[in-house]
């Protein structure tokens, strides 16, 4: 049983707080159930389910902190984990950046984050997703490879200072690559939702199939500056990279693209096109997230970028105190405002340009300017007079999202994705709403032969 109700969680957490003799104690319970099915070469390769529940106990004596974890919850185990944390704290060096636990906070629930139907996805449902992806490909001399995963989780904590929180959520994520059997065409699709009812494997796979077939016999075009339409998944990879750099401490220390010549930061400065608005909102309908952050601060709606101006940087509680600043909670989602047009409509309104399905292997080249490099993949097309004319070979780009967001022509309808979730180089996922982006003068620097 990896999912606990609020009442069950509170019972365990209260016992832990009661047991601790340290100056302060924070007990956190997290439970997850991850189901997945992976397929490749039109066959299921692996499928499984991993459930886990864990209690972390953090105690402090002055500025000495110890953490211990356990996955058994009988009274003896709880006593053991508390005493182990206390022993570790006594041995730990003093942490000058230690911040005492917050007192009682009000967290407004973000209930739409949990959808019962998503929590009840069955092995049969997963197998069916694989079958619905594979079958149309088999019939059409195409080869499918994909990954479907459903995650249900809860998080609860209590502190010796009287604070408490409980939140549960679900996420369903699907990616599928379809290739022609001779390897000359490749298409890809992804879909990320909180509610599995919004997901339909057949229609998603149909898009990947269409891109795979449409990308056969791609032509080489000269690398250079082009108008591009980045589909939401392609844009989120680039913008997401930049959003990890909104750290106030790095900016104050003069080692961020948000640091200013001569000292200070670019807070309040016009860094992007006026149409760029980026916000966070734990209660957003499509991208709801836990209403507190990693330091248990209550999340609120925040304008991160307002009309192209930097309006927010992330202050840890320690850094905010040191700099004598307010420290609102760190966002759990990134909502980039867009328009109402679909990608197809953006294409229809484009005289000449390139449609990019997916961006790949994005790496920081220069943190000073957030110059990123990476490649297009699985469906890159040339647009002329409002129509897709022909597939083109993939290209490497060297571009900064800061420059990109100054060269905005138009923004489309935002779509949900998660970034930084568990993959190599991943971490705790952040939910993003990203519009398709039509950008001028996007810099491609070389051709790739990869299909």
């Amino acid at each position: 049983m990896s999912m606990l109700s609020e009442k069950q969680a509170r019972e365990i957490l209260d016992k832990v707080i009661e047991l601790s003799k340290a100056d302060e104690c924070i007990a956190t319970l997290t439970g997850t159930k991850d189901g997945n099915v992976r397929f490749a070469l039109n066959n299921v390769s692996t499928s499984g389910i991993v459930s886990d529940i864990q209690l972390a106990v953090q105690v402090a004596y002055g500025k000495r902190v110890g953490v211990a974890t356990i996955n058994e919850f009988d009274d003896a185990s709880l006593a053991r984990v508390v005493s182990r944390a206390e022993e570790l704290a006594k041995l730990a060096p003093e942490n000058d950046e230690f911040m005492p636990a917050l007192g009682k906070q009000d967290y407004k629930a973000s209930d739409p984050a949990f959808v019962k139907a998503s929590a009840e996805v069955s092995p049969e449902y997963r197998a069916n997703v694989a079958a619905e992806s594979i079958e149309p490909c088999r019939k059409d001399d195409l080869v499918a490879a994909g990954f479907f995963t459903d995650n249900t989780s809860f998080s609860a904590f209590a502190t010796s200072t009287g604070n408490f929180g409980y939140h549960k959520s679900t996420t369903v994520d699907f990616t599928c690559t379809v290739r022609t059997d001779d390897g000359t065409g490749s298409g890809w699709v992804n879909r990320n939702v909180a509610d599995v009812a919004q997901f339909d494997a057949k229609s998603e796979v149909a898009r990947a199939i269409s891109k795979a077939k449409g990308s056969v016999d791609a032509k080489a075009i000269e690398p250079g500056k082009y108008t591009v339409i980045l589909e939401p998944a392609a844009a989120s990879g680039l913008i997401g990279f930049m959003m990890f750099g909104f750290d106030a401490r790095q900016a104050d220390e003069g080692r961020s693209f948000l640091s200013k010549k001569g000292g200070g930061t670019k807070m309040g400065e016009q860094l992007f096109d006026k149409r760029i608005n980026i916000s966070a909102d734990p209660w957003d309908n499509e991208a709801p997230v836990q209403p507190w952050d990693g330091e248990n601060r209550p999340r609120n709606k925040i304008a991160i970028v307002k009309d192209g101006k930097i309006n927010y940087m992330n202050y840890s509680r320690f850094w905010a105190k040191k700099q004598e600043k307010d420290a609102p909670a760190q966002p759990g989602n990134i909502l980039i405002a867009g328009g109402s047009k679909s990608t197809d409509q953006l294409v229809a309104d484009t005289k000449r340009g390139i449609l990019v399905t997916r961006t790949w292997y994005i790496r920081m080249v220069d943190p000073q300017t957030v110059l990123l490099t990476g490649l297009t993949r699985d469906g890159t097309f040339y647009i002329e007079d409002g129509e897709i004319k022909y597939p083109i070979k993939n290209m490497r780009f060297n571009e900064s999202p800061v420059i990109m967001l100054n060269n905005v022509e138009e923004l489309g309808l935002p779509q949900r994705s998660t970034i930084g979730g568990g993959g190599p180089g991943g971490g705790q996922p952040i939910v993003m709403m990203t519009p398709a982006m039509k950008i001028r003068d996007f810099t491609f620097t070389s051709l790739s032969d990869a299909v």
């Binding site: 864990q54 220390e253 920081m364």
Partner: protein, 544 residues
């Protein structure tokens, strides 16, 4: 089961370094405990093997694993975190009705292991219904009861935390005194205690140690708003704490007076040099883009080898099993059959899990196959791939290459990259002699930004340190360098490789692959090598 956790460390350049942390947190002293004897492991493993066989499995392997990690993380004059983790459990893999099945348990009891074996067999039988071809396992003779341990002089897990804290704080102090604005230094220690048993009759007990001590030094210039970092030039190693003994017996002074390291690392001296070089970067001349002859130090070339030789020659990628995520490969099977010219005729690239000190060094892989060395590219020609037991028949081989790995008892083992290295040149040649022939070139050290397409053709690499070479001489440090290559052209442009006295290992400590993802550690050796007329771009931009 333990879900994998991630530990995010900020301060490594502008992006956070995110590390996979397995298992539960424990006290440092508990890292040295021996919770289960080898005899007890054999009894437990036999329970699993018998239960699987009784349930109808034609093959079974049981892995009993205890995976320990210790991270000590510092910034400037303080320790941010000390993390000790332990993850213990049993993974059971079977073949039933010609299909793989896997199940795992964190309970080290006969009942739990037998149940996992039955569950794995049931999963295999269920999946067999949609399986099109039965698994073909390359034959393997059992080795009986054997044991192996990484040859270490000093168990890093046994070194008191205080000594590690003192070392990192002295590293940081040295960098700050040498003019650094900021410094992060970290110790990552890994110990895998793995017991493998299979129905082939093998009972293999292995104790594997690895260590990495990365650092990042940042220099800032308030007036210009510029900042530059230089990472440490050490290698992650399959060694004990002796790697950090600070002696200079293995230090090498390269042309341009760059200090490099072999089997011993002086982390304090490197931190000092890093501070000076990071400051120089702030004022260094920006590279003029164009074609240059590149001279690549092994501390840099290892990553190129990793990305455009190691990955494209993984057989599962070549076949399409990783198509949705990591990608496929340009090095298709027909290219091997046609004798594809991967590189110039001085280029021999080999796989080897028997090199002492390397990250991939073990005696047996995670399906009980003895490790070995084999050629991938011989005298410039593509000759082989990396294959495990159920893949060997696809490339016409009778035995696995011994490169199967799982990052935990709870993960299914699959094909992972062995150490892949560039063979040193056969004729005597030092880096200084190699450089004396270069008219217009760039000398590159260290791992920088890297990116490569999903078939491993088009790559772009940065580095940590760049020096201009003019008329056979290293002149000055330059900046904003990245080079773009197409894999076969790059290796065919290799015109000189230094001899074995310059051969050094480097590596990747957290290499990712698979869905759900698994990490592995892998080394790559090389001597300094020259690549003619490579396209160099300038990466400086202005964002106002």
């Amino acid at each position: 089961m333990h879900r994998r956790h991630f530990l995010t460390i900020t301060g490594f350049g502008a992006t956070a370094l995110v590390l996979p942390v397995g298992g539960r947190l424990i006290a440092a002293e508990a890292l040295l405990e021996v919770p289960m004897s080898v005899a007890a492991k054999k009894v437990l493993a036999d329970v699993g093997l018998e239960a699987a066989t009784a349930a109808g499995a034609s093959y079974c392997d049981v892995r009993i694993g205890r995976y320990l990690q210790q991270f000590v993380i510092s910034r400037e004059r303080q320790i941010d975190n000390v993390v000790n983790t332990e993850s213990t459990g049993v993974g059971v893999r079977v073949i039933a009705n010609g299909t793989w099945g896997f199940a795992a348990t964190n309970e080290l009891t006969a009942m739990a292991v037998a149940e996992a074996a039955r569950q794995a067999t049931a999963i295999a039988k269920a999946n067999a219904k949609i399986q099109r071809e039965p698994v073909q396992l390359a034959p393997l003779k059992g080795v009986g009861e054997v044991a192996w341990a990484t040859p270490i002089e000093k168990n890093a897990m046994a070194v008191p935390i205080k000594d590690k804290v003192d070392l990192l704080l002295s590293v940081n102090a040295a960098a700050l005194e040498a003019g650094a604005s900021f410094v992060n230094s970290t110790l990552f220690l890994v110990n895998e205690q793995k017991y493998f048993a299979s129905t082939d009759g093998s009972y293999i007990d292995q104790d594997v140690h690895r260590l990495w001590a990365p650092l990042t030094v940042t220099a800032t210039d308030k007036q210009s708003g510029k900042f530059r970092s230089r990472n440490g030039l050490s290698a992650p190693v399959g060694m004990g704490y002796e790697y950090l003994d600070g002696t200079s017996k293995d230090a090498l002074t390269m042309p341009g007076d760059v200090q490099m390291y072999g089997n011993r690392y002086d982390i304090v001296a490197d931190a000092k040099a890093a501070a000076q070089q990071a400051k120089t970067k702030l004022k260094a001349r920006s590279v003029k883009p164009g074609k240059y002859d590149l001279v690549l130090d092994p501390s840099h070339l290892f990553l190129t080898i990793h990305e455009n030789v190691g990955h494209p020659l993984e057989l599962d990628r070549v076949l399409g099993y990783e198509a949705n995520y990591a990608g496929t490969s340009f090095a298709t099977l027909d290219k091997r059959d046609d004798g594809f010219q991967y590189g110039s005729d001085i280029v021999t690239l080999y796989a080897d899990r028997t090199q002492d000190g390397s990250l991939g060094r073990v005696a047996y892989d995670d399906e009980g196959v003895a490790t070995k060395r084999w050629d991938l590219v011989k005298d410039g020609v593509l000759v082989n791939y990396q294959a495990i037991r159920d893949q060997a028949h696809i490339i016409g081989e009778k035995a696995s290459h011994g490169c199967c790995y799982a990052d935990s008892w709870s993960s299914v083992q699959f094909q992972r990259m062995p150490n892949v290295s560039l063979a040193p040149g056969k004729k005597p040649l030092t880096p200084a002699q190699l450089i004396s022939d270069v008219e217009d070139g760039i000398y590159i050290f260290g791992r920088g930004s890297y990116s490569i397409d999903q078939q491993r053709y088009n790559a772009q690499f940065g580095g940590q340190l760049f020096y201009e070479i003019k008329n056979g001489k290293v002149t000055e440090q330059i900046e904003d360098v990245a080079y773009q290559i197409r894999t076969p052209e790059f290796w065919n442009a290799c015109s000189a490789i230094c001899d074995e006295s310059d051969f050094r290992l480097n590596g990747s400590f957290f290499d990712g692959k698979g869905q759900p993802p698994q990490v592995s550690a892998v080394s790559h050796g090389a001597a300094t090598a020259r690549f003619d007329q490579i396209n160099v771009i300038n990466t400086a931009r202005s964002i106002g």
